[in-house]
């Protein structure tokens, strides 16, 4: 060590930069492209968004004027902002628990199958996950058609009255929930069954010796051990649901009567239809704080340090 230090001091100053470059140059070379994109297209826009949230942007000159909390006050004072937030919350509060429940049930059932059966069902469940939201939205809008749609025909088969679906303010948001629930479970099932596979066999054997039946085994043994994966799925599902946009844009345009205007759709409208960039940025920031807050809350409430 001492030798190294004395040698270092013998050399002249330019070589210090040289040695730093020789030592770390390749590391920076490997990291640089990603970091360039990270700063230009991720970090800068987020910081700029914070600035815009407190500003008024003149579209003609591109100049910003500091307006303090005005944009935030405007958000809180606008009824539609609260409606949009409420719609996103209602959608999330229904979709997330129900889809997690479906994921757990399907995973438990799939996990016991021989591997060919597992692959078949997982593939079927996964199909919507590789399909663009634009395709799913158009197909479901066709299924929801009140006159010649497949869903009303199927309802008729079991003697239920035809519905207006997307045209009915009370049913429009639930219809979008149906779209999410009937197709969004593939990734969750794949992740959860993988996690189930990593639980050591002895854990199950021990439970059986203790006389646990299948249900008790799942409830008392499997699920607690799967808590980290379930937490991950919970947070991802919550964030994803809260950001509902594509189906709204393509199927309902936020209607009827703002029944499906979600917060992201409202932000989009204010930014790119009304060109209220400052107002939209302020709402996006509020939205971000809410999302991070919820994720953090879920993490602190449900996280555990189970080890096995």
């Amino acid at each position: 060590m001492a030798v190294g230090v004395s040698r270092a001091s013998e050399r002249s100053t330019p070589s210090r930069a040289m040695r730093f470059a020789r030592r770390h140059g390749w590391s920076y070379f490997f990291a640089a492209p990603s970091m360039l994109f990270l700063f230009v297209f991720w970090i800068y826009p987020v910081l700029r968004s914070v600035m815009l949230g407190f500003s008024d942007l003149n579209l003609r000159t591109g100049e910003t004027t500091f307006v303090g909390l005005e944009n935030f006050q405007q958000s809180f004072a606008t009824a539609l902002f609260w409606t949009a937030l409420r719609n996103a919350v209602v959608y999330t509060v229904v979709v997330v628990p129900v889809s997690l429940l479906i994921v757990v049930v399907l995973s438990v059932l799939v996990f016991r199958l021989p591997s060919a059966g597992q692959t078949f069902f997982k593939s079927a469940f996964y199909l919507p996950a590789v399909t663009s939201v634009a395709v799913l939205a158009l197909v479901w809008k066709w299924l929801f058609n009140p006159v010649i749609g497949l869903l009303n025909y199927l309802l008729g088969l079991v003697s239920l009255p035809a519905q207006q679906w997307l045209g009915n303010p009370d049913l429009a948001l639930p219809s979008l929930m149906l779209l999410a629930l009937a197709g969004g479970q593939g990734a969750g099932v794949v992740l959860l069954t993988a996690a189930m596979g990593s639980i050591p066999r002895e854990v199950y054997d021990a439970a059986r010796i203790d006389g646990a039946n299948t249900f008790a085994e799942v409830w008392n043994v499997t699920l607690p051990l799967l808590r980290p994966t379930l937490l991950y799925l919970l947070i991802i599902a919550t964030i994803g649901s809260f950001q509902l946009f594509g189906p709204v844009y393509l199927m309902t345009s936020g209607g009827p009567d703002h029944a499906t205007t979600t917060i992201v759709y409202y932000i989009y409208q204010q930014a790119f239809e009304e060109f209220q960039f400052g107002y939209a940025s302020a709402m996006a920031l509020i939205f971000m704080v809410i999302l991070i807050g919820i994720s953090f809350l879920q993490y602190t409430v449900f996280s555990s340090d189970v080890e096995y």
């Binding site: 390749w26 590391s27 070379f29 490997f30 990291a31 990603s34 990270l38 297209f41 970090i43 800068y44 826009p45 987020v46 968004s49 815009l52 016991r112 078949f120 069902f121 997982k122 079927a124 996964y126 199909l127 919507p128 590789v130 399909t131 663009s132 939201v133 634009a134 395709v135 158009l138 197909v139 479901w140 066709w142 299924l143 010649i148 497949l150 009937a182 197709g183 990734a187 794949v190 992740l191 993988a194 990593s198 051990l225 980290p228 994966t229 991950y232 809260f242 950001q243 946009f245 393509l250 932000i267 989009y268 930014a271 960039f277 939209a280 940025s281 996006a284 971000m288 999302l291 189970v306």
Partner: protein, 273 residues
């Protein structure tokens, strides 16, 4: 006996759910090949008889479908190549090399992961306008390159590789670049495969940003192209389903061909549990 009943029930529930998931796809395909009369028929036919290509002819006439297909392919391929290359490089740097600032930089990668995409929309649009990238391939591709999640996944994967191999290659006199190309990248192939597949599918299916950054019909990729199609022919479901099928087919084929990677790959980098 009880075992057998339980097993049958399991298959029944799974099958019902699988049918529920697949029916929309089935209905899209059937409708795409039906003529206008059959589409309006009540009760609906479960099979197009006779099947017709008319909807596809209308689709190719009403929309620059092959231009959209080219745009989607071009954008998805370039986005994926750039993202995977850069994420592999930086994943290696963060996992296997120590350099001043490495921790703070990786922390920044993690930090932007929790920021919802919508927060960036307005500034990203403004930035794209300044850089003259509105309605261009640059605008479609560059903001999507090197997504932090890809960097995060590659770093996670690289961490699992044994450092001794790298040291041994260095002792053998391998330069840093050839070490990366001939040792690191081949060892990281499973991680690279996963990031490649998911980046490609995400890029192909992207909707929100392409809607915002493109303004001319010619520059649309397939998913926002469908939105145009829907506006033009609001009630022509045959046309819409033909366009939807045209959009969905490439990723569905990719999925069926690479099923194994999709179904296993998703667990790379996921939390243990």
């Amino acid at each position: 006996m009880a075992m057998r009943v339980m097993k049958a029930t399991a298959y029944l529930i799974l099958s019902v759910w699988a049918i529920l998931t697949i029916i929309p796809f089935y209905w899209m395909i059937v409708t795409a090949f039906k003529n206008q009369v059959a589409i309006q028929a009540i009760p609906p036919d479960w099979w197009p008889s006779p099947p017709t290509l008319l909807n596809f002819q209308v689709f190719f006439g009403a929309a620059p479908a092959f231009r959209w297909l080219f745009n989607s392919s071009f954008v998805a391929i370039l986005t994926t190549v750039a993202t995977v290359t850069f994420a592999t490089m930086s994943g290696y740097a963060f996992a296997k090399r120590r350099f001043p600032g490495d921790r703070i930089l990786f922390w920044l990668v993690m930090a932007v992961l929790v920021v919802p995409y919508e927060v960036k929309l307005v500034p990203l649009f403004e930035l794209s306008a300044h850089l003259g990238m509105i309605d261009s391939y640059g605008g479609l591709i560059l903001p999507a390159v090197s997504a932090p999640f890809a960097v995060f996944l590659m770093k996670q994967f690289m961490t699992t590789l044994p450092s001794e191999i790298f040291d041994a290659a260095r002792v053998d006199g391998a330069g840093e670049w050839s070490l990366f190309v001939h040792v690191v990248a081949p060892l990281a192939t499973p991680g690279i495969t996963v990031v490649t597949i998911f980046t490609f599918v995400d890029s192909w299916n992207a909707f929100l940003w392409p809607v915002i950054v493109t303004s001319s019909i010619q520059m649309r990729t397939l998913p926002p192209g469908l939105a145009v199609l829907q506006l033009q022919s609001y009630t022509d479901y045959g046309l819409q389903m033909a366009g939807s099928l045209f959009t969905a087919i490439p990723t569905i084929i990719l999925f069926l061909a690479l099923q194994r990677y999709f179904l296993q790959g998703i667990t790379v980098g996921a939390v243990k549990g």
